[in-house]
């Protein structure tokens, strides 16, 4: 792949791929809007929102930002640190659960 484009300057790809991704992003956005429009609730709502969000973000990073054509060194240097945010999410959810439990307890019984 890289060798075939070796002598072309910078990131040049067929324009069709941008139109395809553009259309795909429109469809995915319409789907995520439909999740709200049709009042889906609970686990189904949250998982659909997350799936469409991750697909859209992945398409933009991979194609529009050309990450799929970059070398592995840049990919890992940028994308690997971003995954550490997941750890932060787990930390904050457990902290938030604890705070909520405390508030629930003290607001309900006045701490007695």
């Amino acid at each position: 792949m890289a060798n075939a484009e070796a002598h072309v300057e910078g990131q040049q790809h067929p324009i069709g791929i941008y139109f395809k991704i553009w259309a795909l992003l429109f469809v995915l956005s319409a789907f995520s809007y439909a999740v709200d429009y049709y009042h889906l609730e609970g686990g189904l709502r949250w998982s659909l929102i997350l799936i469409f969000m991750i697909l859209k973000a992945g398409l933009i990073v991979a194609v529009f930002m050309h990450m799929m054509w970059e070398r592995m060194a840049l990919m890992c240097a940028i994308l690997l640190p971003m995954t550490f945010i997941v750890v932060f999410i787990f930390l904050m959810t457990s902290e938030a659960d604890y705070t909520f439990a405390l508030r629930d307890f003290f607001f309900a019984v006045g701490g007695a």
Binding site: I49, A73, L74
Partner: protein
């Protein structure tokens, strides 16, 4: 992408590529101009800023004992008939995605040295961006003046709603505004032929080339990327 110059051997790909790139002298990011590598590093730091905002939003929303305001209804808009939930936010999403599409094509035409197409696409991207900021200003005005939402309270529910809304969408709108200004600057440089003649830029006083359009594009796509997360977590959740 690896650019093989005459007299050079091809660079190894994949995991072997990581080891050889990082253990090589002088530069780890082969075939990537320094400005683009630095933009990626900046975007990584910006990712952490926005994830801190979204995580603090998650924390206040999880810990509040008061019900969270009905976001879908607050951002509903009626065009003469029944109010349509979240319609303005949906339009803003489509506008920002379209601006990403035109930006991606501007990068391509830049590398092909098609100055006119590049500049037109950059200006169209800037117009999309400016209309996005305009709609956001409309949304803020409506929320502040008509609904009485304040950073410390609102008539719908949990008080944290206002501060989270103004902080996150405000910071994102600021990013879009800065992007619009820089898009117009780059468009002017493209149409003037600065990147063909090697005119020195005001920022670095170095001659630029069409890689700057791609670096600009990375920033712009990132702004779109952040909006996707805000749309999912703040407006839809």
């Amino acid at each position: 992408m690896s650019q093989v110059q005459p007299g050079e051997t091809a660079l190894p790909e994949g995991m072997k590529g990581i080891v050889s790139d990082w253990s090589s002298d002088q530069r780890a990011f082969k075939g990537v101009p320094w400005g683009k590598a630095m933009m990626w590093v900046f975007l990584l730091s910006d990712t952490f800023i926005f994830s801190c905002f979204l995580l603090s939003y998650m924390t206040v929303r999880m810990t509040t004992t008061v019900a969270w305001p009905p976001v879908s209804e607050i951002f509903a808009l009626s065009f003469g008939g029944e109010p349509i939930p979240l319609i303005l936010i949906a339009i803003m999403t489509f506008i920002l995605i379209s601006s990403s599409g035109t930006m991606a094509m501007a990068v391509r035409f830049g590398y092909q040295r098609n100055r006119k197409a590049t500049a037109i696409l950059l200006v169209v991207t800037a117009i999309f961006g400016a209309s996005f900021v305009g709609m956001q200003a409309f949304e803020w005005t409506k929320l502040i003046l008509e609904e009485g939402v304040r950073p410390w309270g609102n008539p719908f529910g949990a008080a944290q709603f206002g501060s989270v809304f103004f902080m996150i969408t405000g910071f994102h709108g600021f990013h879009v505004s800065v992007g619009v200004i820089f898009l117009l600057i780059v468009a002017r440089k493209v149409i003037r032929g600065d990147y063909d003649k090697g005119t020195k830029g005001f920022f670095t006083s170095r001659p630029g080339n069409y890689e700057i359009v791609e670096t600009m594009g990375l920033y712009w796509h990132f702004v779109d990327l952040v909006w996707i997360f805000i749309f999912a977590f703040f407006y839809l959740w």
